[in-house]
Amino acid sequence: MKVNRYPRHHHMPLYETTPSHYLVSIAIATGLAIGLTALLVHFVYPHNAFDVNRISLGVIVQGALNTLARMVLAFILSVAVAVPLALFIGSTPRIQTIFLPIADILQSVPVLAFFPVVAVFFVANNAFELAAVFVICVSMVWNIVFPVIGGLQTIPDDIKSAAFVFRVRGWRRFWFITLPSLFPFLVTGSLLAWAQGWTIVIVAEVLHAYIPKGNPSQDLLGLGSLLVDSNAQVKNGVFLASLTAMILVVTLMNFAVWQPLLRLSQRFRFD
């Protein structure tokens, strides 16, 4: 007897959502939540001063969470900027010819070169957190832009033709075809962006180094500032603890986030 493979209660998963849609939705929701919280915190508490001579494990954990929150917010913002920018630059060969060299030059400018100017501006407006988030974001953006532009070139012509023939056009084409096609490149670019971000966050949180007549009380509590300030004051215990915390966070992220995403992204690659 042939079993009906499609009983009435069978929820046939239709086209509406794919893993990339869930990921994007979760990422945006998380980013918004974290961002709003961070903004609220930094307006209520303009900066989170700390004394490197009195650091407990709890402070290091707090610092790790603060750094992670800044990185996540910066990442969300960088994706929000990088993806539309990449889609624009990669949209036609003519636009690519004009804007790709410009993007190439811009990404070569070291972000820390203009960070002092940025820092002064944000600090003057009482936006300490935003100063750090901004510079981390700028450092991340280009690592996403160029892989996404490359990813646009890999969408096969037959896929674009099939999308047209089957009436997957306009925003539907972007949502159901383009975005999933770009997912592997977004993952690769994000990995590179976070690697760059970890490098920059170490200096981005040490605001006093970029403010005229600045002092360490203006630094943002985070793994970066703990590393720099503890090293400056020869607090080796704090330094080692902060370094260990950073390594732990990076390693955990690798296992919990990047490896699963890299495995998932294989499904989205065209043969």
Partner: protein, 243 residues
Amino acid sequence: MLAHVSKSYVTPPNYVVRDFSLSIADREFFCLIGASGCGKSTVIKLMAGLQAPSTGTVVRPERIGMVFQSFALLPWLTVERNVAFAVRMQGFDRDKVRATTERHLRMVHLEDFAERYPRELSGGQRQRVGIARALAIEPEVLLMDEPFSALDPVMTDELHADVLRIWEHTKTTVVMVSHHFEEAVTLADRIGVMKDGTLAEIVDVKLPRPRREGDPAFTSTVRKLRGFLEGSHAAPTVGPQPE
């Protein structure tokens, strides 16, 4: 229907398709053959609306299905979702999407592969998904752009039989592009021979199905087509044009 269609990609014009006119009858299996670079893929893209003609008019039905040489399946969707996705995009309701997807997967004998991903399938199976997807949207015309070129001969023969079986069941109008004479004679009711961007000849194939390559009538038809393409046939025979 294409009326006096020409297509050039460059300015000044260098036409890859020149003054091409063709009418396809309802429920007909029409095959367009020609050498590489003769413009037959451009013609099928014009039919699908993927390109606009430089001159002339193309009258196409509202719903067109298409099967691609490279299969054009979405790798992140299962077999079932690849078909259902296309059907849902036509605006059908959920129940119809479910029923249509199920029916067409059965038609191509892939109901047990519904949860597989395209990379887990053979080339022939992927093309079956492509065929199921194209037919599931209930097209008025099915376009096939060299659908078997990427497959080995054994798989191609299997799919020829499947396509004929499905066509005889659904009676969808089919326009297929090929560069294999034998394939065209196996499948088509009428064969158009393209040469240098124009339609050189149209041949009626009145052989009963199933057609066998060893049959004298089959061989003779192939020889006639080859002659048209090479320009060595003295007295071409053209089948009756449909209304």
